[in-house]
Subunit: 338 residues, 2 copies
């Protein structure tokens, strides 16, 4: 690859695509040319890059000529159709949709954990779901030293993951309720304002949601360890940005909260916020716009012989999606340039 | 005791006290006279009972003459000072504050579970915290048949538990944010609007909150089994009414989701809402104002050899506080009348 790159972003005007473009600029990714792409429905929109308004172009099979790196941030159907075409035309695809995540020959990468998998790619590198990303960033260094056996996680997920329509819906429902009107329900199956929905994705036959099973499957794949057992309960709450996770995990080797603090104190991508005496713990409103996975409420799990309970918060649009994709690209080019 | 009763309610104008008075009327509790009491700060307020506005009277050591049953629904200091005085004057005290819950000679009662403990009272009967109540109502019938070993619970708690000031704070913060103003933070340590606070009570030396340890301790006391291990993470979310719990539990005997459905189908105080294919699961907005503990998302815990994951929602002011206290009183008089 060259030392600067032609980059395309599919779904450029969506929440993740837009944030990818912002982060590419923010982190001074070496871009020769940027091509924002969308399926036809979004044509007429534009995206901002380097203080310029760039019109979004129509995605078609000829969109990838001369492109080095292509971020897919639209939806699974779009990735399934266009990612192979992009690869055929010589692009490296970094896919933020769920479509390729569990493909055997597609690396599923969180750079703090398994950047080494990037070099084995065959054209497509998948970026995991937001809940798996913020789980593995702090759990990986713990796993390396203490060997994870079991993880139980309950989530507190922001509406921004669902897109701008969901953010509008939360706002509109609150406005309606404050005026004693019936809130309109369109994006989610029930009112999200002042509610908690234990339903963030399609239900599967085993009564888990697809997202709950993805957390299980993706975490095992990223940690490269099928022996870890994981149970997730995913819940949408009326928060705009940043997901939180209440996590209980057990390890093979004896572990204490002090061990966790020592390991995570030097872990890449992790920031410990944990001083209950001063009311210091991670909060969605403060994690928003930041890059780290924030960890707090670290304590011995008193229900287990050898476990830890803790609370992890991260910006679902940044580390949970766009930032992770850009970090994959950064690692990709640093390998290529070696 | 007589077949109708002189009843006093301490903290009558507070959220729980007010609801106790409403539920006494609603369930036609045999009342001869009702005396709403408050510490001085609330004087001038009144409460509604049987379409009458009753002025709240000042609580003092002479308040209990002629009273049969006294509901304490103010705070721990008030219960600690006045409950013994009430008992001395012949009242039976039903205490909804945390103060007496872990006293060895005070029964801690959830009528669906351990109504039999009422008859051993020595003047004071304690009603548990809301999170323990909605945990034990569905878990007790499971424990009886399958023997619980371990419970992991993460909570999604409504602001109404903290009182009217917290409900105003959530409303006011949203209004401020919608007008691009800085939201005022008074009741909680941080903004609760569009946030999730992993901090619902004082922090203890072991890094758990007092409420997290109460869930552990009260659950063991109510289930009368010290061998069960319990780890709780309590989280406040921007919901007005009804608490939710994401629960993972393990049992001694082999258990399946079908077993749970069969046991809970006939369990007192429980209603199963569990049909993912039709988007049926418990929700805070629909549990509000209802008496049952709603259980859904029942599924095998795929991280454990023998466990279940489920989702429990109940109205924190009704079953979580006022209703449970009134049910204790109903059981008390039915025992007395035998």
């Amino acid at each position: 690859m060259a030392s600067d790159y032609s980059v395309a972003v599919i779904g450029a005007s969506g929440t993740t695509g837009n944030e990818i473009i912002r982060i590419l600029k923010e982190r001074a990714f070496p871009i020769r040319s940027l091509k924002p792409l969308e399926s036809e429905i979004s044509i007429g929109r534009s995206v901002e890059y380097a203080n310029d308004d760039m019109p979004v172009q129509v995605l078609d099979k000829d969109s990838f000529k001369g492109i080095d790196i292509c971020f897919f941030a639209a939806d699974s159907p779009t990735s399934s159709v266009y990612a192979p075409i992009a690869v055929e035309q010589g692009c490296v695809v970094i896919d933020s949709t769920p479509f390729y995540r569990m493909y055997k020959d597609v690396p599923l990468v969180v750079p703090e954990v398994n950047a080494d998998k990037i070099k084995g790619h065959r054209g497509i590198i998948a970026s995991p779901g937001s809940m798996a990303i913020q789980l593995v960033v702090p759990l990986y260094p713990i796993h390396r030293l203490f060997s994870l056996k079991r993880i139980v996680v309950s989530t507190y997920q922001a509406v921004s993951e669902t897109g701008p329509g969901a953010m509008d819906e939360l706002t509109d429902q609150i406005r309606a309720l404050f005026c004693f009107n019936e809130p309109a329900v369109k994006v989610y199956p029930y009112q999200i304002a002042f509610n908690a929905l234990p339903h963030t994705d399609t239900f599967l036959d085993n009564a888990y949601t697809a997202e709950e099973m993805s957390i299980t499957d993706e975490t095992k794949k990223i940690l490269d360890d099928d022996s870890i057992t994981i149970c997730a309960t995913t819940v949408r709450i009326p928060v705009f940005y940043s997901h939180a996770e209440s996590v209980n995990f057990e390890t093979d080797k004896k572990i204490t909260p002090q061990d966790v603090r020592e390991v995570l104190g030097n872990a890449p991508g992790v920031k410990i916020e944990d001083d209950p005496s001063k009311n210091i713990y991670p909060l969605p409103i403060y994690a928003s716009g930041k890059d780290e996975c924030f960890v707090g409420r670290i304590r011995q799990d008193i229900s287990s012989d050898n476990g830890i309970a803790m609370w992890i918060v991260a910006d679902n649009i940044r580390k949970g999606a766009a930032l992770n994709a850009v970090q994959i690209a950064e690692n990709l080019i640093s390998i290529s340039e070696k």
